[in-house]
């Protein structure tokens, strides 16, 4: 099928909507920079409006593309020799859905930001970068070739850098944004190597074309693992996850966006996109990495004290689950979890943001200062923030995987896939399954702990504050997202994950999920009970609180040595390489002095040493300065006779 044919297969309305969905965020980015300083408030109207338009377009695209042949469109980007590098769009069910989810969540975050960021000095930059962030993510979603994905991949990194570091006067934010970008770059370097492998062996980056190529498993394993490096960086997998908790320094809506729809999900989406590249060997690595990440994230979330960090580790853990599912050969399950997670995690963050926002406002009024994100200082907020409480509970339930919530469905899908996988493959696959089960248990624990600490019990530091619910622009998005966290949107049957999404975003394998669903429900309820029973306990583990010291390790073992190496090379540059130059300069002095021997009379004493060293020392310094003609003659004669004797011999 030529690109033209596919174009005709879809209505021009579809194309316009697709273009709109992609271009409007970019337009938002450009326009926001053009708004003058004076009217910067206008951006908070303009950007959400454009995002809304984009969301509508995406909805149309989703509606029209759903269960239709994939829409493809290609242009030559540039060409070299007989190879062309194309830029193209490929929209199938998964990407159309992702398109909608990304734009939708982004729109909600935009709206929420109107309230949350009101009064910020750099509002234009904020909304512009939000637009750009969304645009970059959309780029990844619809691109039809790996190079283009890599391009947007990096742009996502860039926009996250800008957003995490939005409050760049704060050193911590600046540090966090820098680290996020650099750690992502480490993964990207791996991704790039993967691209090189693909190019060298396949001579194309086009995903569909690659799918059709006869491929050699050895280099496919290598290439897919390299590409997985990129995923590890972007989706915060072990060991490159440390940037994610740090990224909480950014504004909370940004965190919501990063964790729900953009950035971290990009990795999982790419895994789904390029899943055919992964050989079983590579998939094993993927599964193990995912399981480790999920486990680490879940346990680390247990002993965090910062609301956002708990959520961050929880995201990491959830991403681990998705990656593990990918590794287990169930991309549909992973994607399903991706979508459900997008909504409830966004809701969780926005709710957390709501708490932070409300308490900040209150603090501001009563001039009290404490860390509003530290849950040890919070408590009993249920009465003061009832709406937020409900939102938190709903989305938290989804996260915990309680039945009737979306999380239950997708987690079920993953578990079912893993059960199937462990039945068919090597024995150690069971370990992964067990780990995942453990993770879902721990998820319940920390979610319960979070909700309980914040909303139940006595008020601590907040007792004296006059706290009010956030404005409606913030509450509305939360409500929408909470609504999207119930099962109904994903499958009619609250206990069966094989709904319309699961069955159509890929070549879904139908697992017999009934037993797993029951077991899972029971498991979660057991966990809930345990959580309630241990509600007062504190888990103070430095190991967990510090994220297993991976961060510390990377600082001590990688960053510091690198800096020391840089220092070393810098000194080497000055001392050795430059020093060599200077040494040659000294050598010149020496040579000049040696030749000066000829002209001057250094050797006066040397030659006549036999006659009397003492006598000549006096004339030594003087002889240094000027020429004695007889010495001139002596040296000339000496040179000649040496030369003659040397030749005669």
């Amino acid at each position: 099928m030529t690109p033209l044919d596919t174009l005709q297969a879809h209505s021009s309305f579809f194309v316009i909507c697709l273009g709109g969905a992609l271009a409007l965020p970019l337009l938002s980015f450009l326009l926001c920079f053009y708004v003058s300083e004076k009217y910067s408030w206008a951006t908070s109207v303009l950007a959400p409006f454009l995002m809304m338009a984009s969301t509508v377009c995406a909805a149309v695209v989703l509606y029209q593309a759903w269960n239709h042949p994939a829409f493809t469109w290609q242009r030559v980007w540039f060409s070299i020799a007989d190879h062309t590098f194309t830029a193209g769009i490929h929209v199938n069910n998964a990407s159309a859905l992702m398109l909608f989810v990304v734009t939708g969540v982004s729109f909600l975050v935009h709206v929420y930001s109107i309230g949350y960021m009101a009064g910020d000095t750099a509002l234009r930059r904020y909304f512009a970068m939000l637009g750009f962030f969304t645009f970059s993510m959309l780029g990844i979603v619809v691109s039809d070739n790996l190079l283009l994905i890599f391009v947007f991949w990096e742009l996502v990194g860039f926009s996250s850098y800008m957003l995490i570091g939005h409050w760049n006067e704060s050193p911590a934010a600046a540090e966090a944004s820098k680290r996020a970008f650099i750690i992502n770059r480490v993964g990207d370097a791996g991704f790039l190597i993967g691209l090189m492998l693909v190019w060298t062996h396949g001579h194309t980056f086009n995903i569909e074309a690659l799918r059709a190529l006869p491929l050699d498993p050895a280099w496919m394993t290598a290439a897919s693992l390299c590409i997985f490096c990129g995923v590890v960086g972007k989706s915060a997998q072990f060991p490159l996850f440390t940037w994610l908790p740090d990224a909480m320094e950014g504004p909370t809506p940004v965190s919501a966006l990063i964790h729900a729809a953009t950035m971290v999900t990009a990795g999982v989406f790419l895994l789904g996109r390029a899943h055919f590249l992964f050989t079983p060997a590579a998939l094993n690595v993927v599964a193990i990495t995912g399981a480790i990440t999920a486990l680490l994230g879940a346990f680390a979330a247990l002993s965090q004290h910062d609301i956002k960090k708990v959520l961050a580790y929880s995201t990491m853990s959830q991403l681990g689950l998705m990656v593990a599912a990918m590794g287990a050969g169930a991309p549909e399950a992973a994607l399903l979890h991706l979508f459900t997670h997008a909504f409830f995690k966004a809701c969780l963050f926005l709710s957390a943001g709501s708490i932070i926002h409300a308490l900040h406002q209150a603090q501001h009024q009563s001039h009290v200062n404490f860390d509003v994100q530290d849950i040890r200082l919070l408590g009993g907020l249920r009465k003061k923030l009832p709406f937020t409480f409900i939102m938190f509970v709903v989305s938290g339930s989804a996260l915990a995987g309680l039945p009737l919530f979306s999380g239950f469905l997708s987690k079920d899908a993953i578990l079912a896939a893993l059960v199937h996988w462990s039945n068919t493959g090597d024995a150690w696959h069971w370990v992964v399954l067990l780990v995942v089960a453990l993770v879902s248990f721990v998820t319940v624990l920390y979610t319960f702990r979070l909700v309980w600490t914040i909303f139940n019990g006595e008020e601590k530091s907040t007792a004296s504050l006059v706290v009010s619910e956030p404005p409606v622009v913030m509450r509305a998005p939360m409500a929408v997202l909470a609504l999207a966290s119930v099962w109904i949107w994903f499958s009619w049957n609250p206990f069966s994950f094989s709904g319309w999404i699961y069955n159509h975003i890929g070549a879904a394998k139908d697992f017999h999920g009934g037993f797993v669903s029951m077991a899972s429900a029971a498991w979660v309820l057991l966990a809930l009970a345990v959580a309630y029973a241990s509600r007062g306990r504190k888990l103070d583990s430095r190991l967990l609180a510090q994220g297993f010291y991976v961060d510390l390790f990377s600082r001590k073992a990688i960053e510091q040595p690198t800096l020391q190496l840089a220092d070393l090379t810098h000194r080497a540059d000055k001392k050795w390489i430059d020093g060599f130059l200077h040494a040659t300069a000294y050598a010149q002095v020496i040579v000049a002095n040696l030749t000066g021997w000829f002209d001057r009379a250094i050797v006066d004493g040397f030659v006549d040493g036999a006659a009397g060293l003492a006598k000549s020392i006096g004339s030594f310094t003087r002889s240094f300065q000027g020429g004695k003609i007889q010495l001139y003659i002596f040296w000339a004669a000496f040179a000649i006779i040496i030369f003659i004797i040397w030749t005669l011999l």
Binding site: D604, V607, D608, Q630, L631, F634, I641, I644, I645, L648
Partner: protein, 172 residues
């Protein structure tokens, strides 16, 4: 051993001994006298080598001219001290070694050498009128060097006059 040969070795020995003495002479004046001895001895050798004209020139110009000039120079440059000028040595060891090395290398090279002769030596006689031949040669084959020498002499004298001119003595 015939008389010329005895004379030859006599002159050689005289020149050599005088030269050795010159090496150790500490008075310029004695040095000059020793050089006169050498020059005269050489003149004798020239005669033995059938170069009477050169020998005569040697005695007249060298011993008679140059040396007088040099002795005159000694007088001029030692007039302040009044006492006999004592000459120190500089670089005696290294200078001597270099000189000896030259001598050794030359003797080594000469000893290995045979020289081409254009005609048999026996044919020449002591009656060969060198002076006339020299005169003819100077006017024919050697007219260019002869004239060149003239200009050289002229300019050397003018140059010497410039250098020695008294009003040039400024102390800067």
């Amino acid at each position: 051993m015939n008389a010329p040969l005895i004379l030859f070795y006599f002159f050689e020995a005289a020149a050599a001994i005088a030269a050795v003495a010159l090496l150790f002479a500490r008075s310029v004046f004695y040095g000059a006298l020793l050089v006169i001895v050498i020059l005269l001895a050489l003149a004798g050798l020239y005669v033995l080598a059938f170069a009477e004209f050169v020998a005569v020139t040697q005695i007249l110009v060298y011993a008679g001219g140059i040396l007088v000039v040099i002795i005159f120079g000694i007088m001029l440059t030692s007039r302040l001290s009044g006492k006999p000028l004592v000459v120190e040595h500089t670089l005696p060891v290294s200078g001597g070694l270099v000189g000896l090395a030259f001598f050794g290398a030359l003797v080594y090279a000469i000893a290995l050498q045979t020289f081409p002769t254009s005609e048999s030596v026996a044919k020449t006689s002591t009656t060969f009128d060198a002076t006339q031949t020299v005169g003819i040669a100077l006017m024919s084959d050697y007219v260019l060097p002869f004239e060149t020498t003239g200009i050289l002499l002229l300019m050397a004298l003018i140059g010497a006059a410039v250098m020695a001119s008294d009003n040039a003595s400024k102390k800067i």
